[in-house]
Symmetry: C2
Subunit: 161 residues, 2 copies
DNA sequence: AATTTTTTGGAAAAAATTTCTGTTTCAGGC
DNA sequence: GCCTGAAACAGAAATTTTTTCCAAAAAATT
């Protein structure tokens, strides 16, 4: 169970993972050791999954996002497993959801341009037989964050000051 | 312009930003200093945007993803600006795209459950008058990565070994 | 109410890593 | 062949992380 301090720590490091523990400690009102220990525990407990560097899509030539909606008539467990396996191998697919409603699956694909998307699309349908695929192009990424809202965390009962 | 070594470095740190520079250097076949300098430059040049900790959605109670499609009749620059501003303030909105095609805007929203989504939705439409909103719920996140494909990088002409 | 156990925090030292400095190497141009 | 600049290296200095040991507070038990 997390408390107010853990939440503060998470808020800091999910925004910037380069801040030294001593500085985090200062900001949350602890000394380095207990703060360091809390971070360790958050990692052990799997609250912190990993630390990564985020790259500029422009710089790596993948500024176009395409949302790919897939409707299929295949619904067996086995089929999904194979499908998921195959999709996972495409580095262009950065997100992949199983949906409720009309659409069965939704992919977010990143590529340099429309031509590249077409090439990707051909490679995709060559690998997997899918009945209905439709693509929606993003013109602009207005917001993108890896920071999750922390307001829904169920806090441990906090001691009154 | 990036070369083969930069690409290797990016590949490593966009996957795991905790690896020491000395270890990265070893893996790409450099000593620490030149490797460190390359990383510095990649940061200066904005290829590396930031380093962050990724949290477990389950652990912070935001395991439900909802894709919100918005169709509007408002299309002025001014309206979009205000709209974007407002959306940005909702921490539940982790992605926000301006789309081509039927849908004008697409949001990815993360919340604990359907009820919370309803509450979020009410707060959203209270702030902004939007004509048509439709929500699609993700049942399962099959893949989610912040790692961009590096295969589209235009490499600097590499010297033959 | 007193005692023990457990938890949490702190200071300081040790270890590891990052950052910087000066020097060397190497390819290409003159 | 020699110069020039870019890129590499080794090692020192600075910073940060990690460990160790101890104190205080809180919780549980007698």
């Amino acid at each position: 169970m997390l408390d107010r301090l853990d939440k503060k720590i998470l808020s800091i490091i999910q925004d910037d993972a380069t801040i030294p523990v001593a500085e985090i400690a200062k900001r949350v009102g602890l000394s380095t050791t207990p703060c360091w220990r809390r971070i360790q525990k958050l990692e052990e407990d799997g609250v912190i999954l990993r630390r990564v560097a985020l790259l500029d899509p422009k710089a790596v030539n993948t500024k176009v996002t395409v949302f790919v909606s897939i409707v299929t008539n295949q619904h067996s467990e086995e089929w999904l497993k194979r499908f998921a396996e195959l999709i996972r191998e495409f580095p262009e697919v950065v997100e992949f959801y199983r949906m409720s409603g009309q659409v069965d699956y939704l992919l977010r694909v990143v590529v340099p341009d429309i031509e590249s998307y077409d090439a990707f699309y051909k490679r995709l349908i060559a690998k997997i037989e899918i009945s209905d695929v439709s693509s929606a192009f993003a013109m602009e990424q207005i917001k993108y964050t890896t920071s999750l809202p922390l307001s829904y965390i169920q806090l441990e009962k906090d001691k009154p000051v």
